[in-house]
Symmetry: C2
Subunit: 206 residues, 2 copies
């Protein structure tokens, strides 16, 4: 059975082997005739797809000990993927969630890399730059481009470092593989959300 994680900007479809990353329009056009189990955080898209006969919303199957009422269903899925971990989903937003012995401990949200860059752009045209992903964190920047790149990367790294415990650190999402490379003992796994969905489907009778 196909699984879909419908995010704010993209749809991620998992066929049991590979993950496809599509726009909302591409996903609906290409897959509306195929049975598919999904979770969706985009309310506008949700109101469109609830009429697709073969697509089933499995949000109600996802239950996480310690979850809070308005917690995004994709974050719940992520947190169900392993019993212990710090889970970082680096997509449109960067969500950071901590789970200990299967119980949700809390989490926080940073802007996604694209949202960070857009926000600098709104402050001043002088700050409209492309991210330098190779920007060194071992010396202080001396150019505007690196001042912005360093600001983004060093602040994400510092806040994650300040939450470091003996829990494993997992990354997923579009910028997850690159961010993971900044943390030597971390693991990137683009399937985390789907693993959480699979666990929920296995544990629940829905």
């Amino acid at each position: 059975m196909l699984l879909a994680d419908i995010g704010n900007t993209r749809v991620h479809i998992f066929d049991g082997k590979n993950v496809l990353h599509l726009s909302h329009e591409e996903a609906i056009a290409g897959y509306h005739t195929v049975p598919l189990l999904y979770i969706c955080v985009n309310q506008a898209v949700k109101s469109h797809i609830e009429y697709l006969a073969l697509w089933e919303d499995i949000s109600c199957c996802l239950s996480l000990k310690g979850e809070y009422a308005t917690m995004g269903v994709d974050r719940k899925a992520l947190c169900l993927s392993h019993t212990n971990g710090i889970f970082v989903d680096a997509g449109s937003a960067i969500t950071v969630d901590i789970v200990k012995d299967g119980v949700y401990q809390g989490g926080f949200i940073l802007p996604g890399i694209k949202a960070y860059l857009e926000s600098y752009k709104t402050i001043s045209p002088a700050l409209d730059i492309e991210l330098n992903r190779e920007c060194s964190l071992s010396s202080l920047p001396l150019t505007t481009k690196d001042s912005v790149s360093y600001g983004i990367i060093a602040s994400i790294k510092a806040v994650l470092d300040s939450h470091k415990t003996d829990l494993p650190l997992y990354f997923t999402g579009g910028d997850g593989e690159w961010l993971s490379s900044l943390f030597p003992d971390s693991k990137f796994d683009e399937l985390l959300v789907f693993k959480g969905m699979q666990k929920a489907l296995k544990d629940k009778s829905c």
Copy 2:
């Protein structure tokens, strides 16, 4: 003599005692008939005010050892205010600059608080929140509002903590006083930029 620090969104005018915070329009309408020395980082405003006979741009007087070519003149002024320090200007952007023995060591830029909040809003309507400035940093959040507030505040705090040295930590700017309260040994001084301008005027013959 009046001094003015013309920023991206506001004009800050110092009369030797108090600082007035005005919109660009208010500042020009209220003060164009008065002699005033200014620095300006807003190119659009700069092209308007260069025709004001009594306003003088003193950017060329501001010279900082170790500065880089495209460094904002307000950051240079800030760095001239003390011979040693970590200088945080929390306005439209949050700039962080380090000076040791009068020599600029480098710096980085974070979005300002307002820009952070706007960036979350662009990601999803669910993240359109007002900052909870009282958000606790000692326990992980369990609401969306606090997840966003914590993300902003904890990442700024963590990246500043990771640069902590024996240099004094100074804050200025609209959110400077509040941010300063998160760092026990720091000092808030809304006059830092003006002190740097005064030093430059004293040292140079311009």
